[in-house]
């Protein structure tokens, strides 16, 4: 039995992108029926909440959108879609003002009462607006209150399973859900659907995103036939906590500021090693530090748990305790003394630059389907600047809201679903109940390790091929492994199975895209092709699924605003 419902606008995900979209639809047309579905509780799941550093915006005196734009393009190694990036940096200004003036976020100020902008690596201006080092809590709590305050329907702990096409197969008719609390299926028909499930590279041994994210949105899009771009671009953060395999805390971030103020990275022999890789030492950019750490680990100079150390004691434990109170407490919860002792760290998978190919107005090649936030590709290119992530989800979430209501005003209407496709998707989700229960945890552990080793920070052709074989093997095993059908209500083990399925699907896409890119740019490093290649002829990868097969291709980056070697900054500005 599948419960049938309908709505005008269906939003998948309640992060910055999803909630902003809901608010903007409501503002554009309060008469529309809006539904936000989320795998966790509204606003309490996903990564927008986890933002620590802050939000990039060119609002400060002396800064300019051109400068923000150039930082974004250069950070992205000339791969970003320039129209998307330009929209990001220009709209961010209005968005921050909206967050402050209408939503109620209360960002930190300078003593003169104006917004404080802090320094973030890889940027030529201190433009990151923040609330302490828990900026995400401030942003998402305020958004969530505004959504609760409006007649917006919430489907909490509703897991989207599949986008269901209409009879033509060219438009989306609705979404199949699992009501996790009851274990029942539910189909929601909608005029417009927004995909905002937040990507998230959770298939790596060490990863930062929240546990509810398992690239479901990307997997659904792939299955629907949508093109995914830049999927080889997985950002790693240098300092994830390494507290062993037995704790979910492993992989979560400890702050970059620690290296910024002069923290040391040490290898297993307690020696500093960063200067052997880069003259900036610990203060090099995220990708370089991560890569150097990984190389050091591969060389076997690790701590007992297989990682490295961060050491702050030389800065004075009292100082560290005062300046990084939250981090010191967090480490203490894993049993580490950050202020005076050594904390084991590893690079950790953080963010997906890649995602669904979309237009500046968030529309996709499928009628009725829109995409925003980390699920969307093209904004960041080969690397995301710290502080551009939440800007991306809020800017484009809002735009999606406006686009969807405009399109509905122009006549976008509900389409009737392809019932066969729906039935097939239900069968796909129920599959594990027909199999004998098995060792899901073993499968997950293998996936985490294989992605970490062969599709991680340093890649090469043999490794990627090895990974593809292993992924195919894992998929076969997963499909043969069941879940006991004793109680479907709030069944997290069933959820684990479904998560693994999405993760394996998208892991394959990573590996294919990484094989395709035979050069090294930003987050993607091929030891067999270490050079960045010619910038002027840059191409981006595209992976899509047709007839159950992955098609891998690439396309030239269009330099619509600025070409490699040029800048938008005026003479003096550029010289600074």
């Amino acid at each position: 039995m599948i419960e049938d419902r309908q709505t005008d606008i269906l939003i998948l995900g309640s992060g910055g992108a999803g909630l902003f979209a809901a608010l903007h639809v409501h503002q554009a047309n309060a008469g529309l029926d809006i539904t936000v579905a989320s795998k966790g509780l509204l606003g309490k799941s996903g990564c927008t909440r986890m933002v620590q550093g802050g939000y990039n915006v060119a609002l400060h005196k002396g800064d300019s959108v051109e400068r923000h734009f150039m930082d974004t393009i250069e950070g992205g190694k000339w791969l970003p879609n320039q129209q998307l990036a330009w929209t990001l940096v220009t709209k961010a200004i209005e968005r921050v003002q909206e967050l402050e003036n209408e939503i109620g976020c209360f960002f930190d100020r300078l003593p003169d009462g104006t917004l404080h902008g802090k320094a973030f690596a890889g940027q030529t201006f201190d433009r990151t607006v923040h609330k302490g080092d828990l900026t995400g809590i401030e942003i998402i709590n305020r958004l969530m209150e505004q959504v609760w305050a409006r007649p917006i329907k919430r489907l909490e702990e509703y897991r989207a399973l599949a986008l269901i096409p209409d009879a033509t197969g060219k438009a989306v008719a609705g979404v199949l859900f699992l009501d996790m609390r009851s274990g029942q299926f539910c189909y929601v028909a909608a005029k417009a659907v927004l995909l905002a499930t937040g990507g998230g590279p959770t298939m790596y041994r060490y990863h930062t995103p929240s546990g509810d994210k398992s690239v479901d949105g990307l997997a659904m899009a792939l299955r629907f036939g949508l093109p995914l771009r830049d999927m080889e671009m997985v950002q790693f953060h240098p300092t994830g906590v390494l507290a062993g395999r037995n704790t979910r805390m492993t992989g979560t971030i400890i702050e970059e500021g620690l290296r910024g103020v002069g923290g040391y990275l040490l290898n297993g022999a307690k020696e500093r090693f960063m200067f052997a890789y880069d003259e900036r030492g610990e203060r090099a950019t995220r990708d370089i530090v991560s890569r150097s750490m990984f190389a050091e680990m591969r060389a076997g100079r690790t701590t007992p748990q297989g990682g490295l150390y961060i050491s702050m004691g030389h800065l004075g434990p009292e100082n560290v305790r005062r300046q990084f109170k939250g981090m010191v407490e967090r480490c203490a919860d894993c049993g580490f003394d950050l202020a005076g002792g050594l904390v084991e760290v590893v690079p950790t998978a953080h963010y997906l630059m890649g995602g669904v190919v979309c237009n500046v107005d968030t529309s996709t090649e499928v009628a009725g389907l829109y995409v925003a936030g980390e699920d969307a590709g093209g904004v960041h290119g080969a690397n995301r600047l710290g502080g551009n992530g939440v800007a991306n989800s809020t800017v484009f979430g809002g735009i999606a809201g406006e686009t969807m209501s405009t399109d509905i005003a122009k006549g976008l209407d509900r389409r009737s679903k392809d019932a066969q496709a729906l039935a097939a998707e239900v069968a796909r989700a129920e599959m594990p109940f027909a199999r004998k229960a098995g060792d899901l945890n073993g499968l997950r552990e293998r996936l985490l390790d294989l992605m970490w080793e062969d599709v991680g920070i340093i890649r090469d052709e043999p490794g990627l091929n090895r990974a593809l074989d292993a992924l195919a093997q894992l998929e076969d095993e997963l499909l043969a492994t069941g879940v006991a059908d004793s109680n479907r209500a709030f069944n997290l083990t069933w959820s684990d199975w479904l998560n693994l399925r999405s993760q394996i699907d998208i892991s394959k896409v990573f590996a294919h895209a990484a094989l395709k890119r035979e050069n090294s740019r930003g987050a993607h490093f091929r030891s067999d092709f270490p050079d960045p290649g010619d910038l002027a002829t840059s191409r981006f990868t595209i992976v899509r699924q047709r007839d159950r097969r992955l098609e891998v291709s690439d396309a030239p980056v269009e330099f619509t605003i600025v070409k490699p070697g040029q800048t938008l900054l005026k003479g003096q500005e550029a010289a600074e």
Binding site: L41, N101, R109, T247, M249, T252
Partner: protein, 239 residues
């Protein structure tokens, strides 16, 4: 020190019982890890909720040995007593299943306390100048980092005894807005928190501030509201 922990976990909905499990003691193990271990290795149907696993989403709160806590940031060694831990759902909220509660009422009350910002400007205006050292802003900063975990709500006997009471978290949020000079809704907000079930239903048990994992002090925020509403009443702004 024994190498297993005797774990008792609540199974069921409103009606239910504690079921015993044995979980190996492991390094760096949090209470959430213990619960995860049971689901992964001992009983795949165990239900619980978590998301961020680092103390920012407020999804994972449970009752651990009689006290509400965030479980992802609670090291088991800190709570294990005589080799045992008892893990139940949060109190004062209906149980969805096992360790997961339905937080709807909690958020409805947040709205009832007018816990959403009321704008006085638009996105086309400049961001307000606010002095970071101004007393009102200092008050806001003290109370703003709430993760809406519901721990205080579960610890408060006034909530338990008076289901209409809005509770510490909602009132704490209202207090931050009362001190927000950009907000235009404070007349209605003060009326809302002064109504039956509002701040005057707090009997200063202080369990909220004792248990808040973010070291927020809702007792102080509620006291602030009590003063502010009285002031408004004297001056005739509240009737």
């Amino acid at each position: 020190m024994s190498d297993v922990i005797a774990v008792s976990i609540w199974r069921g909905r409103g009606e239910g019982r504690y079921v015993d499990y044995e979980v190996p003691r492991l390094d760096s193990q949090t209470v959430l890890d213990v619960v995860t271990y049971v689901q992964r290795h001992l009983d795949p149907t165990l239900s619980y909720r978590f998301a961020c696993r680092v103390g920012v989403c407020g999804s994972c709160a449970m009752t651990v040995n009689g006290r509400p806590r965030w479980t992802c940031r609670t090291h088991v060694e800190k709570v294990v007593a005589d080799g045992r831990v008892e893990i139940g759902p949060l109190a004062n909220l209906p149980v969805v299943k096992d360790l997961a509660t339905d937080m709807t009422r909690f958020f409805e009350k947040w709205q009832q306390a007018k816990g959403a910002f009321t704008p006085s400007k638009t996105r086309h205006d400049k961001v307000a100048h606010i002095m970071p050292a101004s007393p009102a802003r200092v008050e806001v900063d003290k109370a703003i980092e709430c993760i809406n975990c519901g721990v205080c709500y579960a610890a408060c006997d006034s909530v338990r005894w008076n289901p209409d009471y809005l509770g510490p978290a909602a009132l704490n949020r209202a207090w931050t807005l009362v001190n927000d000079e950009r907000d235009a809704g404070n007349k209605a907000r003060l009326a809302a928190v002064a109504a039956a079930g509002g701040c005057h239903s707090c009997h200063t048990h202080q369990s909220c501030e004792q248990h808040c994992p973010q070291a927020i002090n809702p007792t102080a925020s509620i006291a602030g509201l009590k003063q502010r509403t009285l002031g408004a009443y004297w001056s005739g702004a509240l009737t």
